[in-house]
């Protein structure tokens, strides 16, 4: 085999290898849309974040508008302080309501923003005042069970 065609084959091999890696990065790993633009950070404190993780989505009206960048336990308030990096294109009123939702019955958890009506917008470093914790399925079930038991007691 001549030296030129060997070089060509090696170049071809390396090229398609890199293309495969690029395919994985872009199409599978979604590197392209992972917060490429400018962001600003806002905070929120939750009583219970459930299974929320760093890099979980922040959605408003179902559209991803930011990602969770940091989760810390606050030892003063015994709450979870969540920092979110929001896409700079989107602004939210100061009285926006942050809830932790689950996509599907057992799906991933994300922060949902329900937009309020305030004239002023959340700026970098501000925190969302009104939050609602994650729904813990076990609690819900035990509440339901206790209620059932109480009902059947009183019915007797």
């Amino acid at each position: 085999m001549s030296r030129t065609s060997l070089d060509l084959w090696v170049g071809f091999f390396v090229a398609i290898g890199l293309v495969a890696l690029l395919f994985l990065a872009m199409k599978v790993g979604n590197l392209s849309s992972s917060m490429s633009g400018e962001t600003y950070a806002i905070k929120a404190s939750f009583d219970n974040i459930g299974a929320l993780k760093v890099r979980s989505a922040v959605k408003s009206a179902g559209v991803v508008v930011g990602r969770v960048s940091d989760i810390r336990f606050n030892s003063q308030s015994y709450q979870a302080d969540v920092t979110m990096s929001m896409d700079a294109r989107f602004k939210f009123p100061r009285d926006t309501f942050a809830t932790i939702n689950t996509s599907g019955l057992l799906g991933e958890q994300y922060i949902g923003f329900e937009v309020g009506g305030d004239e002023e917008y959340l700026a970098a470093g501000d925190s969302v005042k009104k939050t609602q914790s994650a729904v813990v399925l076990e609690k819900l079930i035990s509440q339901f069970m206790f209620k059932q038991a109480a009902d059947s007691e009183s019915g007797k």
Partner: protein, 232 residues
């Protein structure tokens, strides 16, 4: 041996030649088996997931299992038996036919001329092959899952994109395949260089290459996984 690695890069053509023999020649087996592994994953994954009514998660299942584990590991096992054995046999035969001694007589260091380029060729080829394997496998899973069975195409890709992290999953997969490439090439050149210069010795060394490097890959995979994905 690392001391002689400089030669492998100074005389880059020696290394290129080895990338051709280990990498390019392994393309067919890697691509075809990647496709089939992905297709099997698509079928089996769908079968299990649809019992829980979450067949949309097929994309996540296929992508994560390929990128994290199957891609690097299966590609490495194939690479060990396809290319590692060839390297050992080649070096062993060079030794048996006294080509290596002849080189030493001509004041050519066989470590620099023969061993180092083969080692680096393997190390460079392996991550590329693993990436191709994963990409091909995901394509196979897409073919079976979306085209054949009819999982929704949008949720297949979007769920995959939502849960596969570039640094966490893909880069760790690449690091893994890099380590595996180094293990295979190291074992292969060592066994070849260490082989008894007889026909029996070469065949024994070739067998040992495949067995040792396969076991080493699986053990190293466990260790790397324990470090990379612990608690994540």
């Amino acid at each position: 041996m690392l001391m002689h690695s400089g030669t492998a890069f100074r005389r880059i053509h020696l290394t290129l030649r080895e990338i051709y023999f280990t990498g390019v020649m392994s393309l067919i087996i890697i691509l075809v088996s990647g496709l089939f592994v992905g297709m099997v994953l698509g079928l089996q994954g769908y079968d299990t997931l649809q019992r829980y009514g979450s067949s949309e998660a097929l994309g996540i299942l296929v992508a994560l299992s390929l990128v994290r584990e199957l891609g690097p590991v299966v590609a490495a096992l194939l690479f060990a038996s396809r290319a590692g054995s060839a390297i050992t046999a080649e070096i062993g035969l060079m030794k048996a036919t006294e080509q290596l001694s002849a080189m030493e007589m001509m004041a050519v260091d066989p470590l620099a001329r023969v061993v180092a380029p083969r080692f680096w060729g393997g190390v460079i080829s392996m991550p590329l092959l693993a990436a191709l394997f994963s990409a091909m496998g995901i394509f196979g899973g897409y073919l079976v899952g979306v085209q054949l069975i009819g999982v929704d195409e949008g949720s297949f890709w979007s769920q995959m994109q939502a849960s596969v992290d570039f640094r966490e999953d893909i880069m760790n997969g690449v690091i893994k395949s890099f380590v595996f490439g180094a293990i295979i090439s190291w074992v292969a050149v060592f066994e070849g260089y260490d082989a008894e210069p007889t026909a029996e010795g070469v065949s024994g060394a070739t067998t040992r290459t495949v067995v040792t490097s396969s076991l080493a890959i699986l053990a190293a995979d466990f260790i790397l996984t324990a470090f990379m994905f612990r608690g994540a």
